[in-house]
Amino acid sequence: MIATLGRFSIWFALAIAVYGVCVSILGIRRHRPALIESAQGAIVSIFGLSSFAVLLMEAGLVGHDFSLEYVARNASLDTPVFYTIIALWGALEGSILLWIWLLGLMSVLAVMIESKRQRELMPYVTVVLLCISAFFLFLAAFPASPFTTISPVPPDGRGPNPLLQNHPLMAVHPPGLYAGYVGWAIPYAFGMAALISGRLGETWIRTVRRWSLVAWGFLTIGIIVGGRWSYEVLGWGGYWAWDPVENASLLPWLTGTAFLHTIMIQERRKMLKFWNVALVIITFALTIFGTFLTRSGILSSVHAFSDSGVGPLFLGFIGVVLFLSFSLLVYRSDKLQAEGDLDSLVSRESAFLVNNLLLLGFAFSVLLGTLFPLLSEAVRGVKVSVGEPFFNTVNVPIGLSLIFLMAIGPLIAWQHASIESLRRTFAGPLCLSIMGTGICWFFGVRGLYPLLAFGLSLFTVITVCQEFVNGARTRRRKTGEGYLTALSKLTSRGRRRYGGLIVHLGVAFLVIGITASSVFKLEQEVTLKPGESLQLGRYQVRFDDLSAWQEPHRFVVQGNFTIFNSNHKVAEMRPAKRFYPTEQQPIGTVDVRSTMREDLYLVLSSFAKDGTSATVKALVRPLMMWIWVGGWIMILGSLIAIWPDRRRALAADSVEEYVAWQPGRS
């Protein structure tokens, strides 16, 4: 029943997508608004049908309908309901279903919100979105159908991969990432619509900026939460392994970040038109590439939980997207000439250009490193690995230069920055951050990179604060408001600028956290008898005993540890190992004690079966919490920038930007 209905709704949705593409092309050619409206109706129907399919799949999962192959592989009678529900994105077929649903949702929102304002572009946007939908619906209808049945029907399912039923963040990480991937389809569709229709003014740029911010925000959530999940579940003490799948999610984030910055140049100066379309094409292609890497199994990865034969289809789709988009771009290049000229090498425009260069360089090195094993095997026939040591060596200098730009970029004047204005803006922050770096050195920070990382992050924090304080002070002087009122009104009047500055602040926190937690990491692995302890930094970790018990779907062995800080008991920690009947290797569960100052991280590596000893790996990672705090600040900043302003009329848009983007004015 579920299988039949599910398959039917997906096929039906595919048929509607194809119908919608034909109808809207016809509508555009013959200038028939009715046909175009029908195509928009197709988008709504696809969303309805895919919602129905998702509900059917959930019903199958929660109702333990093991006649569905997907349910039999990803659910079991013993799995808790929560993890049964989120098993929807535990494997390829369900993820594609989720992808289709998210794309449907975003497309419906885009049609609802933009179709009145963008009458000229919307028909083309509809075509592009329907084509993307059709590709994914094709995958779900044929090679990766979530509603395939098996017979005989097994009495119980295998249950989700234990790593995926070990942590509640699995409910946030994949959907966040997918929403970020899917979200870039909207700016891409608008970019393509502008290219096809030849309306390459600033309209499409102004329309997509909020959509891009939404996609960027979701991608940020997906990446940060993924790091957190990795840290708390995979049990190796880190959060980012430069793993192919992680890299794949970073790539569109980097190019998307570049796009968010250069659209400001196009809005203000009517330049970089060609480049912006190219960037949005690259970003969209990279989101498809990310899905492909996650799901094809072409490169081994800690996040690849499914292999299948859809790889070639994805590659084909990426090829078609790139070929068609760039052909169009070249065809329209005469309409993409800059209408303005640059005035000086030292200006906001130049800072953005160098920012783009570095972001793209960063992305290129990540892409090259990720694919280099394949390249090496093809050229030399030798397998090589490209991992953390490589990426850190190549990307840390690029990243540090980016932080430098992040600190100065928002404060350099547009067009031309005079030496005098540079001195006025940066002399104070520069002195303060050099002093701060000196203090870091005094407290034992050594090495060029850590000092630069701390110094530049501090520089960013100071310049951002200076910008807020100056703005609020000016407002206060003019209006006589209280300090907090002035600050909040300032932010709400220039949401995009101040939201962006808050994102920069978050990045600075993130960088401080990453640097401190990796450079000053303490690590020890010791075998202890009950009552013995190990000393790590300020902490004394005492092993008390082991306990073990059976749970419905697994067997658990837990080490009980008491933590002392200079002879005061501060905590009890219980890292464990969980044995699943379907897995050969036990799954470790770490225990982390987090404070703003540092994290204590315990892993139960192994134990004697009679309970006479346990091997424990202990890590102290300073300022680890700052990474997550920084991530949340980034998300807060993007929320502020996205938040719609009810009082603002459409026409006022450009004026608001005009006011908000006066740099360093006080």
Partner: protein, 155 residues
């Protein structure tokens, strides 16, 4: 700006080289540092230093033992390469074709930087030549609109 950027990059690469070569430390620290360069053969994508697997634990012990016996880091690396192939090293060796991975990103950035500087220069020159009307900022239409809207908002 270009030369400053280039100097920063060169300084970065050089200092990374020094950092990996010079610093010593206790035997445990040396073991972990060397283990961080080796790939855990049974894991998906973790280093021998990070991996919680038994295989990695054994490999850490081998590294520790060999360091204790006075073998140099290079000898130990070669030992693992001879057993598992180049694949065991988490960063490709700096020789032959592998230089492509190490250098291409920087070549691309320096090249791109050159293009950007040339483009800006050309654009500035073009701007000076056709300097009939100053660009956007003093457009009277915008200025008046701006004042109006500002007044509206302040209420």
């Amino acid at each position: 700006m270009r030369s400053a950027l280039f100097a920063l990059l060169v300084a970065g690469i050089l200092s990374a080289q020094w950092a990996s070569a010079a610093v010593a430390g206790s035997l445990e620290e040396q073991t972990l540092r060397l283990a961080a360069e080796l790939r855990c053969p049974v894991c998906q994508n973790l280093s021998v230093a990070d991996s919680p697997s038994e295989m990695a634990t054994q490999m850490r012990e081998v590294v520790h033992e060999k360091l204790q016996n006075g073998e140099s880091p290079d000898q130990i690396r070669n030992y693992f390469v001879s057993r598992y192939g180049e694949w065991i090293l988490l960063a490709p060796t700096r020789q032959g074709f592998n230089w492509v991975a190490w250098l291409l990103p920087f070549v691309a950035i320096v090249g791109g930087g050159g293009i950007i500087v040339l483009t800006i220069r050309r654009s500035i020159r073009r701007g000076h030549k056709g300097n009939v009307e100053p660009s956007g900022s003093t457009d009277p239409r915008y200025t008046s609109q701006l004042d109006e809207e500002l007044k509206e908002w302040e209420q």
